[in-house]
């Protein structure tokens, strides 16, 4: 009798539970960024001309490159899931490494983008920035805040993918125990989803 275990125990391996949990977490992420999007749209409504002028400062080419990078990395993660489900561990690992490379490329690109702005003195507290009209200040601050928070999510997602690679190598993540890969994938796609909105709203609004 000491070994009686309920069929619906909370300590069972239940991929469906972790997937549901992950989705719920993604919902909170959506609303977290959602708060920022509300701020963005309100200030855009009040300062539409200034937002427009400020957006000319952003480099569409760089933004487009980063968009392509993220979309492609989303595909490689999705393919890694397919690969692992088919039992092709090696291939899955390679695809995940490619994803990581994309993540790093994204961050490097972002780094250059930011540093060019900062060189031009566009950062809170710097001379050029302080001379801007308020709408433009808001635009740039939101730009830093939102892309910064997004970059932070890229880093977290990359770390997760690193763990998945380790898990597959050690045989803890397999076709039958795919939860960790699936959930890291979901997280990665969400990061992509958010960028899908950030990109047109900051780079393409003219």
């Amino acid at each position: 009798m000491a070994h009686f275990v309920l069929p619906n125990s909370g300590h069972n391996y239940d991929p469906e539970s972790s997937k549901l949990g992950m989705w719920l977490f993604l919902f909170t992420e959506i609303l977290l960024f959602g708060g920022l999007f509300i701020v963005y749209f309100v200030y855009r409504t009040i300062n539409s001309d200034a937002f427009l002028r400020a957006s000319y400062e952003l480099n569409i080419t760089m933004g487009t490159i980063n968009t392509i990078i993220l979309i492609t990395s989303s595909m490689t993660v999705a393919m890694a899931i397919t690969a692992l489900q088919k039992g092709k561990e090696k291939f899955a690992i390679n695809l995940l490494w490619i994803t990581l490379l994309f993540a790093i490329a994204f961050l490097i690109n972002k780094y250059f983008e930011w540093s060019i702005k900062i060189e031009h003195g566009i950062f809170p507290g710097m001379e050029h920035y302080n001379g801007l009209e308020t709408g433009q200040k808001l635009y740039f601050f939101l730009y830093y805040f939102m892309t910064g928070l997004h970059a932070l999510h890229i880093i977290v997602g990359a770390i997760f993918i690193g763990f998945v690679i380790k898990g597959i190598q050690e045989g803890n993540v397999t076709a039958d125990r795919i939860s960790l890969l699936e959930n890291s994938g979901l997280y990665w796609h969400l990061v992509d989803l958010i960028w899908i909105y950030l990109f047109p709203l900051f780079y393409l609004i003219n």
Binding site: M1, A2, F4, V5, L6, P7, N8, S9, G10, H11, D14, E16, S17, S18, L20, G21, L24, F25, F27, T28, E29, L31, L32, F33, G34, G35, L36, I38, V39, V42, Y43, I46, P124, G125, T134, G135, K137, L138, F141, F145
Partner: protein, 533 residues
Amino acid sequence: MSESLSTDLNFFQVKKGIISWLFSLDHKRIGLMYLYAIISFFLVGVTLGLLMRLELIAPGETIMKAKTYNQTFTLHGVIMIFLFIIPSIPAIFGNFFLPIMLGTDDVALPKLNLLSWWLYVIGALFALSTLVFGDGPADTGWTFYAPYSVQTNTNVTMSVMAAFILGFSSILTGLNFIVTIHRLRAPGMGWFQMPLFAWSLYATSWIQLLATPIIGITLLMIVAERAFGVGLFDPAIGGDPILYQHLFWIYSHPAVYIMALPAMGIISEIIPTFAKRSIFGYKAIAYSSMAIAFVGYFVWGHHMFTSGMSGSARIIFSVLTFMVAIPTAIKVFNWVATMYKGSIDLQPPMLYAMAFIFQFMIGGLTGLVLAALAADIHLHDTYFVVGHFHYVMFGGTGFAMFGGMHYWFPKIWGRMYNIKIAKFAFALLVLGFNMLYFPMLILGLMGMPRRYYDYLPQFTDLNVLSTVGSWILAIGLITMLVNLINGMRKGAPAGRNPWGSISLEWQTKSPPPLENFDKQPELNEGGPYNYKN
């Protein structure tokens, strides 16, 4: 059901030592750790409240300066909201009883549950650290309204970070409960065989999950604004303070339902047990929980009627606010209908439940007064509001939580407290509570503004009455807690089911074993409240 299992260990006994508690994955232990922490913070908050009441016993400076008073009500508000009332019922009783009521052995994601607990601890440390570091606790009010919150040099950043971390603790608890309810119900328990407490936690969890991130990001913006001096919300440098208020209340009004819904869930458990009748309108109560959660998302603007919102927005929010009253009234109707012609047993939990209905109704009805645009112009930021929300949060949720403590006490500790003393403490609490807060409603109507350490001489009498009430309330609280602690240590053994209830948690031993059940729990035929009459 054989009692020969008495040699088996209960969840207190399986492991000993402080470490086995602090890092426990057992939902019961985590729930109890929350209980001890939350009650402690409640007592700190009460102490601050008593100090404020002492300051207000006479006009002019009595025991503290204006700035100290401002910091006191801010810290009181932050502690009471983020460390006491929001986590209270879900984190304590939700953790402890949700899995048992569903007939399972833990929440779906036990490790995440432990993480929530640790985030709570860290957030609490942040909040308390404002007492010692920097220029002392924030003096903005618990609402952290911009632009003052970006200008004052008191420790706003720390307080705000505390609220942020506590928010994530709350989100993860809600997330866990939703997954648990979806995945771990006992075989054969459909959605409508679930206890109503579980339903109310389900609705609450969705609010925790979807509203909290908004305040999280808003508070981060306050931190950023303080750090970089950008005018996100400060009008002097281009921001819009009303936008802050929008974002703040998008969370903080639904948060009121994070406080109220679980309380209603407890009441829906207590009343059928002590009226020995099946609950009237099970589905109506379940659906109204979801309806309250849903409509509650769209009423936040009623906190901003006087802050410069557009006329049309005010009208929209006023109408929506009146609509939330409907599902709430449905619940009250159902509870009363359940009691009607029941054989009511006036045990302490039932007394608390009845006090809840009475006080919560005063809270709710005064809320409707405030939801009316014209009335609010006069009443906004007066003591009427202070009276109103204490009636909802303390007279409602606080009392429901006390009711839950008295109801589930024998299950948690396997012992019974002294019933006579419990009733006496209850009488003191009701008397003290109403004496403390009813005068505030009148003071507000007379025009006394909130958040001042001073007032005009014509308000003196009612303020004295209110302060004396706070003392009676304090004595009641001490009596109640001492009685419970005594019962915990040396009360008479209570057995499995002292109240004769039929929901699942009463089938197992008291205290429950580590895995909650020693055999497959038997679902009650015809739903969780199918009493014989």
